[in-house]
């Protein structure tokens, strides 16, 4: 009996050690200080898988460890405003300009673009397929009082959607046919698919989810639907603890010719066309023309 008891104790201790040790070691082996860069980014760069391709290259090249926090562009900039991130990769140009103007960030550089699309049920109850512009499409949806699913989360996509509603001269916020999810792009597309509603999406996320959705692209190509991604370094002297060198290195990496080449060829094999078009060094006004 006594022997059995000790055995049991050893067994318990062994299991405890097995459970605890990896946790302890990972906690202790955290990358050394100032080697960490916090990258706050929009969900589409992660959900499309682009960062999974780019970050290992960057880490290998520079020795930095990138902590990617994938949130909406709005939240990413809030993190930058508080000095809780070192560098941002976002797609909300108007808000980005305010962010820089308020002295929260420096060195906004164009990285790439793709486009937003208006998707909806194949039956197209509001008949937006015939419309030319995104604003006309939104007006048709409002006229038909067809269900529209909005992100409602201050993301870059949500900011774009609000800009289109404004340009269309419609305030949808109080309407019955207008619903906000407050979720990411992938989940919002799923909601739109289930409820047979319209929504505004970035092309990358839509293509990635397309096979399970049953939603069609009904309107695209308008200049207003341009989706521009930029890299911004959080102001290095406004906050203590900012890894300014790391942020600079990441920003340089994103616009470097080799990186731009990888961005341009990303997923071409899978979708037959690029998900992102590299734009380093171009002027914003020249895009989409």
């Amino acid at each position: 009996m006594q022997i059995k008891k000790t055995h049991r104790l050893t067994l318990c201790a062994l299991i405890m050690a097995l459970v605890l040790l990896p946790g302890m070691t990972t906690a202790l082996h955290a990358a050394p200080k100032q080697q960490n860069i916090i990258l706050a980014t929009t969900t589409s760069t992660q959900d499309s898988g682009l960062l999974d391709v780019l970050l290992p290259l960057f880490e290998k090249k520079t020795g930095y460890f990138v902590k990617t926090i994938a949130v909406g562009s709005g939240q990413a900039m809030t993190m930058g405003k508080k000095g809780e991130a070192d560098v941002l990769l976002v797609h909300s140009p108007a808000a980005e300009k305010t962010f820089i103007a308020e002295g929260n960030g420096i060195n906004r550089r164009l990285v790439m673009h793709n486009d937003f699309i208006i998707v909806g049920p194949p039956g197209d109850p509001a008949g937006i397929k015939a419309t030319r512009s995104s604003t006309a499409a939104f007006q048709k949806i409002a006229q038909a009082q067809a269900l529209f699913i909005s992100r409602g989360d201050n993301s870059g996509t949500h900011a774009k959607e609000k800009a289109i509603w404004k340009a269309a001269g419609i305030n949808p916020e109080t309407q019955k046919w207008f619903q906000q999810t407050g979720l990411g792009m992938g989940q919002t597309l799923n909601v739109a698919a289930e409820k047979k509603g319209y929504t505004l999406a970035d092309r990358g996320t839509y293509l990635a989810l397309k096979k399970n959705l049953g939603l069609d692209i009904l309107n695209a190509g308008d200049a207003l639907l341009l989706n521009i991604y930029s890299v911004i370094q959080v102001h290095p002297t406004k906050f203590k603890k900012i890894n300014a060198e790391g942020a600079q290195a990441f920003s340089d990496f994103m616009v470097a010719p080799e990186t731009q080449k990888i961005i341009g060829s990303f997923r071409v094999d899978k979708f037959g066309s690029p998900l992102f078009f590299p734009d380093a060094g171009k002027s914003e006004d020249a895009l989409g023309k």
Binding site: V19, M24, K33, D47, G186
Partner: protein, 232 residues
């Protein structure tokens, strides 16, 4: 239906092929939630015992607080732990936000009231005279507490299971304080959320199946200890 079947096949495939990334994620989940449960056992059982065995003014209020804490929403814990651990927050100097240690802290805060509440009830349920009897037989205070813990073994192990089950399955706090960083703070639940967002439903289902298998294995082991030799 095909989707679920595909997911289960994918899970088996990932398990059999010992996919390195999935293995890493699974081990991290186990390590993080195991450590958090371990911490919560110390805090929960000791405090639960202290509150159960002593009389003091406002005791009922404290008990209500503990019982409310058993339903502490993980996102609320995640939010407050994030704010405290921010670089520019009060504990920013620790520099542990977005590390596995931060997830352990958040999960320990979630699990502690669960363990505390159940052990509190367990010790209160023991016959009142038992303590007197043990002391009368000449046991020291420490021996008495040990015997009481043994007497309450069944519910205490239930507390371990509830605590562990609460944290291994939680996602709100883990994603906020851990950040779901690939190869570093990505655990089974946060990976499932991300794969769902990516539209990789088969991988998401596979991760869920692995999570449930893991939870089952741990609970089966704890149940085995609990039921091994039934007292009396």
């Amino acid at each position: 239906m095909d989707l679920i079947l595909d997911g289960i096949i994918k899970a088996l495939h990932l398990l059999v092929s010992l996919d390195r990334e999935v293995l890493g994620i699974t081990l991290l989940s186990l390590a993080v939630s195991g450590s958090a449960t371990f911490v919560s056992l110390f805090l929960g059982i000791s405090t639960g015992m202290a509150v159960a065995l002593t009389e003091f003014p406002g005791r009922r209020f404290v008990v209500s607080l503990i019982n409310t804490g058993m339903g502490l929403p993980p996102v609320v814990v995640g939010l407050f732990v994030s704010i405290l651990l921010w670089r520019n927050g009060p504990f920013g100097f620790l520099e542990i936000l977005y590390t596995p240690a931060a997830i352990v802290i958040a999960q320990a805060i979630i699990a502690t009231p669960i363990v505390m509440g159940i052990s509190l009830a367990a010790f209160q349920h023991l016959p009142k005279n038992l303590r007197l009897q043990i002391l009368a037989l000449g046991a020291t205070r420490r021996q008495m507490l040990w015997i009481l813990m043994k007497e309450a073994k069944l519910p205490l192990l239930a507390a371990v299971m509830a605590g562990f089950g609460g944290v291994i399955s939680e996602v709100g706090a883990s994603i906020m304080v851990g950040g779901n960083i690939k190869g570093y703070t990505r655990v089974l639940t946060t990976a499932t959320v991300m794969e769902t967002g990516k539209g990789n439903f088969d991988v998401a289902i596979a991760l869920s199946v692995i999570l449930m298998l893991l939870a089952f294995a741990i609970n089966a082991f704890l149940t085995w200890i609990q039921q091994r030799q039934r007292p009396r």
